[in-house]
Symmetry: C2
Subunit: 195 residues, 2 copies
């Protein structure tokens, strides 16, 4: 979704290639992605991995995802790293724990600890966002990644504790490019589920 969304924001066409979990661990894919994950990105001779790097590559080559002003551009890149390195880790850990540690005797205690970490980040992010629409001026690749990270919290109730963050995420989802990416992703999911 992150890469699709970025491509839709800048109006670049793309072709999607789906992979089975098995194929992700095979040599052909490991040549593209050393850690056997998705997404990867191919454009001519270039093969990239890491969604942050792919979104940055798209943002650097096409107008619409990074500001022209050099300082504003650097700050937008800082928000890209912050979304992936500072905000996402406890959110990702919570998702993993809720799958793999659900039956452990310590599950409730660990879940509370992870949710405390998430709340601390959300509190700080909420404070910084205030009543602005986006994190630093106009919508940028930093917002794209931050919204996509916060979307992982849907259904957890955690986002509802911070009305300005809920509104921020809703603004992201309301963008036409997000909707096009979501619809395209959903179509693939439905086709794969029924095919």
């Amino acid at each position: 979704m992150r890469v699709r969304w970025a491509l839709e924001e800048v109006g670049q066409p793309y072709h999607v290639r789906l992979l089975t979990f098995k194929a992700m661990k095979e040599p052909a894919h490991l040549a593209l992605h050393p850690f056997g994950q998705i997404p990867t990105y191919e454009e001519g001779d270039l093969a990239l991995f890491e969604s942050g790097a792919i979104v940055f590559h798209i943002a650097e080559r096409h107008a619409g995802l990074l500001p022209d002003d050099a300082n504003a551009r650097a700050r937008s890149i800082a928000w890209m790293f912050a979304a992936l390195n500072t905000v996402e880790p406890p959110i990702f850990d919570r998702a993993l724990a809720s799958i793999f540690e659900r039956d452990e005797p310590w599950y409730e205690q660990r879940l509370r600890a992870l949710e405390d970490s998430i709340r601390q980040r959300l509190e700080q992010l909420s404070g910084r966002l205030g009543d602005a629409d986006w994190l630093d001026g106009a919508f940028s690749a930093g917002d794209l990644l931050m919204v996509s990270v916060l979307l992982r919290l849907k259904g957890s109730g955690l986002l509802d504790e911070y009305p300005n963050l809920s509104a921020y995420v809703a603004r992201g989802e309301a963008r036409p490019a997000y909707k096009r990416a979501f619809d395209a992703q959903l179509a693939v999911f439905i086709a794969a589920s029924t095919g």
Copy 2:
């Protein structure tokens, strides 16, 4: 260390400002870093946070940390994101758990799970590096961040299981710029500890 090392690689002078843990949570610092962490970076009117974004900013403005070829540059940026988003999280979690979860009922099991995750990443990274000196051609900001992430494993014994990664880290530490950064950081530490 990451920012120091980057500045030493490109030969830019810098001034260090130390912070107490208390000052990190105060409004003056939160204005620079929304999540109340270090490092931050100031250059004229620009204030940045997130070590990945700071290293990238330095690498983009000065020769020596990113290749000139556009595709090689994009791949180097992918390794920056990979170091921070894919390799570091389980290494960081292990360090945190060994401090804060040592007395929890889940500690042994969680430590084993984290070390399995770390080994999986190291195995994949070792496979990709092979017998090359650096991850993709010449030393770049991707190597700088990857070596700095792997250095967190010193003393764990985990790195010793992958001789080519141990040698890779040693090559990083042997760089004159790394040594200058390390010596400068150590001098600050000694001064702060005895002052």
